[in-house]
Symmetry: C2
Subunit: 389 residues, 2 copies
Amino acid sequence: MTITRGPQAFPRTEHLRRLASLKLEMSRREIDALVVTEQHNITYLTGYTAVSAYVPQGLVVLAHQEEPVFILRPMDAIAAIHQCFMERDKIIAYPEALIANPEKDGYDVIIDYLAENGLAKRGIGIEANSLPAQAAEKFRKRLPGASILDCTSAVTWIRLIKSDLEIEVMREAAEITAAAMQRAAEVIRPGVHEADAAAELFATLIRGVKGKPGTGIEVIQMCSSPLTGTAHVMWRDDVFRDGSQINLELAGNRHGYAAAIMRTYSIGAPSERLRRVHDIQVAGLEAALDAVRPGRTCSDVANAFHRTIEKQGLRKESRCGYPIGIGWLEASASLRDGDMTELKPNMTFHLMLGNWIDEDFGYVISETIRVTESGVEVITNVPRKIFEI
Amino acid sequence: MTITRGPQAFPRTEHLRRLASLKLEMSRREIDALVVTEQHNITYLTGYTAVSAYVPQGLVVLAHQEEPVFILRPMDAIAAIHQCFMERDKIIAYPEALIANPEKDGYDVIIDYLAENGLAKRGIGIEANSLPAQAAEKFRKRLPGASILDCTSAVTWIRLIKSDLEIEVMREAAEITAAAMQRAAEVIRPGVHEADAAAELFATLIRGVKGKPGTGIEVIQMCSSPLTGTAHVMWRDDVFRDGSQINLELAGNRHGYAAAIMRTYSIGAPSERLRRVHDIQVAGLEAALDAVRPGRTCSDVANAFHRTIEKQGLRKESRCGYPIGIGWLEASASLRDGDMTELKPNMTFHLMLGNWIDEDFGYVISETIRVTESGVEVITNVPRKIFEI
């Protein structure tokens, strides 16, 4: 029996809208085909979320064809038929014998497809910021007559502005995010093993809320004393202790979309230093939120934060955040000084104000936000306090 | 205050042993420096497991220096000081301003380091199967006098043969794996939401067993009817039903090392077809295990499986497995027809016999195994049955 298309997170029209934007960009860059290999870009364009990007696969978007063609491993083609919005003849499975085959692999099949479809001497885009060098070399060698153009971030820049449907999905993710942060306040206790707390948080993130489960897994960062100066450590193989501070970062996931948040937890009364940093950082966060509105720039938002905290004697070296959506971080604009990207309605950012001040002291707070027609919507909904245990 | 080195999963001697093997390989390839960018290779060589590979970072292994140099983002350098076996002066933080900076990034800092250390005209290895094409291009352009060699898989081939210490860690991971599979038999029930079951399994994987928690998160594949013909789908947004079949694949994790397993679950009595496929596949599994011993090849193992099931009228298109360790799949040898890699003691494989037979029907069974001095040790310990719910 054949598999049929499953429930779709987004209607066909939404995928066609995304592709129309991309084809406009392809036309601007004068390419006839774009080979999309970054897995989150593939999810964005097709709806595919299965975990198969560890072997070669690629989505070929042709300027003059409505639906893209997804070339992947047979083992994964069935999931693609089920999950993607395209017709099943747009899913092309390459032979399993090409897996771990040093002579020929899935990228060769993509190249063959381009050649067989009259593109060997046309403009072809690749994503050189993620496509492995070995694969890119293969495109150049095997398509010597083509004009191969680095179209890094072409898709990611389109992803930056969400549709209302995407925003709805991110709001669902944010409800899960909030549930997990509240759960953290219940399970972080002195003597509790950090892993046991993390286990509860993962379970909360997957169970979801209001009958809407988490539909993917996002890593949890749980940096507790003496590691509050670190940013991306998972839980330690140890217990929480009286007086410990815990910097927590996590994200709910719906249909691949993350809504991330950071909050700081303290077992026992926060130190004077922690309180002071918290107050300053919250003031900075509010200033940054105030600065968000269409027409302003990413740089404006970052500088509103930096100016506010610097007036009070604090500095933050790292940027103030990044676009967020499928796969958590989207590499396009950046909330940093000098990034002149103009804010537009339905851009979403993780306003990430984690501040790693000393080697053994850091503080975290963040929100997932949306640029609205006139200002900002904070999508995540968790009290802006130090969670005192 | 400064951060200090934390508890290490492996002693310094273990890391130096790994590096000694790598330096031998570097000498064979006539390179003076190897730039390791694949995150699991970095974990292998240093002990670093923080989640930072989404921005440029690299480990520079110099032929004539005992410890490698880890160049990464300041936000992550503190975790590196804490987790890596090297002295802190081997951790080099590049400016935060290089994040999302189109002009210059972390790879430029790695290139600068190579140039400043007299390597601009020497042999330099890169990992072109994972290093993005953009970054590789930068190495070539900025180091025109260097002989830049693709050293893809140089580290992975060394990882293929584990030390006894690594085997011990993988056995710990396998105990967690077994606990999660047993838990699945308790939580998979008709009417239960798949996500709720997945949540329980994630929690089990992180809580661990015998006071040894999971120290990382591995994705769970839960392909249930009508999706048993798919391989890499996570849970669905639906409930299990009477008569459903569930193909489950998961892995415990200790210090980055995974021990993976697959088993098939059936709510209600398995169909005649499922029983028959199970019997054939188990016979194939046993034949494959019988074929494992030093001196045999990967091809021998695969063909023992294929021959056995083909005699009984079943075929499997995909390979029979791959090396397993840090980050689950290690890309080096492959359990497939024609792979003449000779088995050696302490090689570990995920003997992956998942068989996606029709679009709407597949069956899974697998074990994580170790090649011993005289045969095979099955590291995972879960009954080889269809789990009937």
